[in-house]
Every structure is written in C-alpha cells, then in structure tokens.
Amino acid sequence: MSLSVREAVVAFRRTPLLSILSITTIAFSLFAFGLFGLVVLNIRKALDTVEARVEIRAFAFDGTDAGSIANAASEIQRLPGVLGVVIITPEEALERAKADMGEFSDVFEASFLPTALEVQLQPGHRDPESVKRVANRLRSFEFIEDVRYGEDWITQLHRIRNIAGATGLVLGLAFAIVAMIIIGATIRMALLARAKEIAIMRLVGATDGFIRRPFLIEGAIKGICGGVVALGLTWVATQVIQHYLAFETVFFDARLAAIGVAAGALIGLLGSAASVNRQLRRV
C-alpha cells in the first residue's frame, strides 16, 4: 500500500501541470455543484422558517364547556407530530386582536370571539398530510365549529420545497457525473502518460489490482483537493453575495462540508476506477 501511495504522490510531482489542471476542473465542477447546493440549502432554510409558522386553529361553538376543550387539547397533544396545544380563551383572543389591529381595537368584544385551540406541529410533520390528519381529528369533536390551517398555502409551500429538493438532486447528480467524467479523462491522460510504466509493471508480473491502486488513490486525492478548493470558492462566493447584495446566507455546516469533500473523494475514486478499468482492458 505504501508503494501505491508513493506512486500516487510521485504522479503529482511528475505531471504537476496535468494535476493542477485536473484539480482545477474538478474544483469548478464541484464549485458549481456547491453553489447550487447552497441555493437549495438557503431555500430550504427560508422555507423552514416559513414552515415553523404552520399551525392549526380550531374554533369551538359558543357555550362549549372548558372541560371538553381541555380534554380535547390533551388528546390532540398526544397525537404523533404535535408539538404543543394552546387553549385561547375569548379574553386572550381579544387581547391578541387588539394588539394585532390596534386601530380597530374598539370594534372587538370578548363575547364576540370563540374559544380556540392552537396546535403547533413538530418539524418534519408540517407536510399537508400530517396537517390534514390533525385537522380532521379536531373536526371530529362535536363542539368544534371550524378548523383553519391554510390548506392551499401549506400545499404550495410543500410543493416549492419538493421542487427545490428534486431540482437540487437532479442538478447535483448532473454535476457529479460531469465531475466524474472530467476526473476519468484526467486519469486517462495520466494513464497514457504512464503507459510505458504500466507495460513494464505488466511484464514483471504486477497484478491489475496493484497497477490500479495508485491511480485510484490519485483520483481520490484529486477529488479531495478539488472538494476543498470548491468549498473555499463557495465560501468566498457567499461572502461576496453577503457583502455586495446585503443578503444573509447560510453556509454549509461542518458535517455538510465534510460530506462535500468526501463526495469529491468518492467522485474522484469512481471516475478513476471507470477510466482505469477501461484502459487496463486495452493494455
């Protein structure tokens, strides 16, 4: 293994220009991937903020006794995905209405407003199906007159989230494939540059696995270098956006950054493997 690592490192020294070219092209492919990933991440973050405001309000008929409402609140609280249930009395509703619409505060009277249940959902349970399930359970109580949760709005929000996710996945895969092709091409160039060496290795009895190993390591190293450079470029890009567009953006956390670099290594490894296997069959 140590010889394979040494051969991989020596390959960088022997063809520095080709290696820099490879890393640069990989870095730019991953940079494009990273930028789009960042866009998706920020869209998702924005949607998460909006989604956090998803809540269900159930209004009780006038005259419903407090015990029934409290029992219902307790039952709803136990449903999966429910974060919290708050009982809003007519008086509390009046206070809120006055605070929200100060200029019309004189219009409202406590007796005019019904008792309500406000249900908040846990993250991951704010999709239309989950919201509808809780809303239907609320409707099933006889004393509930009306349930509101902005059905259309939640459906649209969810659709935007899915579109952003799917687009991110498709474009991410496309960029990953482009990066793999580029790495494959650069490894093929390296293979051609070292065709004589490989032929000698073959003559003296090196196995395919042994010949393949340094190239796989080289591909992985190039992928990691490309990933790190891409990460740096993406960070610079976010700083530029924040500075010039005064637009607050979220950057990858350590886990996502590590996944990105690991993805670079994997792409490098797979690109090399495809290229080396194809080339070795010809030698």
């Binding site: 004589k196 003559l203 003296v204 009895g205 090196a206 196995t207 042994f210």
Partner: protein, 242 residues
C-alpha cells in the same frame, strides 16, 4: 517447461500470425528463434508470456495453460519469467538500481530484501559501478544490461529476449550475447528471437526458424530437421527454406 500444442493465432482482421505450432522447450535450454520480419517470432514470444492467447491450440508454461489462465495467474507466471526487448523499456526518470528494484517492488517484495537482490544482479551483469546513473547516461549495451538485470532479479526459470541486440553495435552485441550464454549456463532457459545469423551460426544452440507463422526448421526436432535438410539448405539462413 514450455509447450505449444497445435497453436494458431489469427487476428480479428483475419491475418494469420501463427499456424499449427508444436514446440517443446526444456529447462536450461538456449533456443534461437530466427526468420524474416513478420514471420511470427515476436508473436510466438508473446504467446509464451501470455500477452496474447492463441485462437486455437494451447500454450502451457510451467503448468499454466493459455486456455484457462486468469489475468492474475498470468501476472504470477510472469514473476517467474524475465522478458527483454530491443528497445530496453527502462523508466527514464529512474536510476539503474531503481529500475531494477521496480520489478521487485511491484510484486510486493519486502523493502529490506530489495537492496541485496538488486546489488547481486547488477554485479552479475557488470553494472555494479553504475547504480545511480540514469538510463540516458548509459550506452545502448549498458541499458540492455539494466533490462537484463531487471529480468533476472526475480530468478526466472526462463529469459525471453525479443531482438535484444537489434539496437546494439557488434561489440555490445557480443557482450550481451556472452551474458545471455552465462545466464543459460547458470540454469535459466533462454529463448532469443534474433535477426543476427552470425550469432546463430557461431553457436551450438537449438535454432527454430519461422516463416509466415509456421515453423520451417527446428534443429531440436530431428524429423523436421531431416525433412528440411532433404528439401533445402541444412543450416538456417533466415531466408525461405525449401
């Protein structure tokens, strides 16, 4: 040790490179392969180290059959064979000792065992004083000696030499040939393809002549040798016989 049984090789375009080759080479034997360009000498050697597989028949080398050998088995077989060429095939950016050590490194020889083996074999080929030289700093004869050292470093049972003196002057040719004779005398079989009929005439070794992919003369095969003698010149000439 090496057996060809009715071996034929046809390339995909229909070109016939070898036709019905039957051949046995024993341990310690020194064999010349002669014949005009395109006669099939190099192809026959490639069949020996299984760089190509016959379209028909079987090549068996030290128990490994061309019919069933996997790539991994072929790689292991080559560790017991030494192969040299007219163009030396050295790594230009590595020194003499690194070129020789390379053959040991790629088959996983322990690092501690490499220097001794390399020194031994470089002494054997007369290059002990040039271990740190790069190939471009050596003469053609010396470069071929490095290639021979690399071929010998794994103690092969056979040395396959494809036109090893083709790029060398007379003096270097004599030196390399003497080295090959010494190697043969020490117990390693040598199969050498050559155009140099002077070397062939001056030695007593077995000679096989190929023409158009077939064996037309084999001094080690009495039946064939007699038949050829009846039809034409008794000594190999490198020209068509018959």
């Amino acid at each position: 040790m090496i057996r060809f049984t009715d071996v034929s090789l046809e390339y995909s375009r229909g070109t016939s490179a070898l036709r019905g080759i039957d051949l046995d080479i024993a341990r310690r034997e020194f064999v010349f392969l002669i014949g005009p360009s395109g006669a099939g000498k190099s192809t026959l050697l490639k069949c020996m180290y299984m760089d190509v597989r016959p379209s028909a028949g079987e090549v068996k080398v030290a128990g490994t059959s061309s019919r069933s050998a996997t790539r991994s088995e072929i790689a292991k077989l080559r560790r017991k064979m030494g192969i040299i060429f007219q163009d030396f095939r050295l790594l230009e950016d590595r020194t003499v000792e690194q070129n020789v050590a390379f053959a040991l490194e790629v088959i996983g020889t322990p690092r501690s065992a490499i220097p001794n083996k390399v020194n031994r074999v470089l002494t054997q080929v007369g290059l002990a004083s040039k271990t740190t030289a790069l190939p471009r700093e050596l003469s053609g004869g010396e470069q071929q000696r490095v290639a021979i050292a690399r071929a010998l470093v794994n103690d092969p049972f056979v040395l396959i030499a494809d036109e090893p003196t083709g790029n060398l002057d007379d003096r270097a040719t004599r030196g390399i040939f003497q080295l090959l004779r010494d190697i043969s005398a020490s117990g390693t079989a040598v199969v050498m393809a050559t155009h140099n009929l002077e070397l062939v005439r001056r030695s007593e070794y077995r000679t096989i002549e190929l023409n158009q992919g077939g064996i037309v003369y084999d001094s080690g095969d009495s039946t064939r040798a007699v038949a050829v003698r009846l039809l034409g010149e008794p000594t190999p000439t490198g020209e068509a016989v018959g």
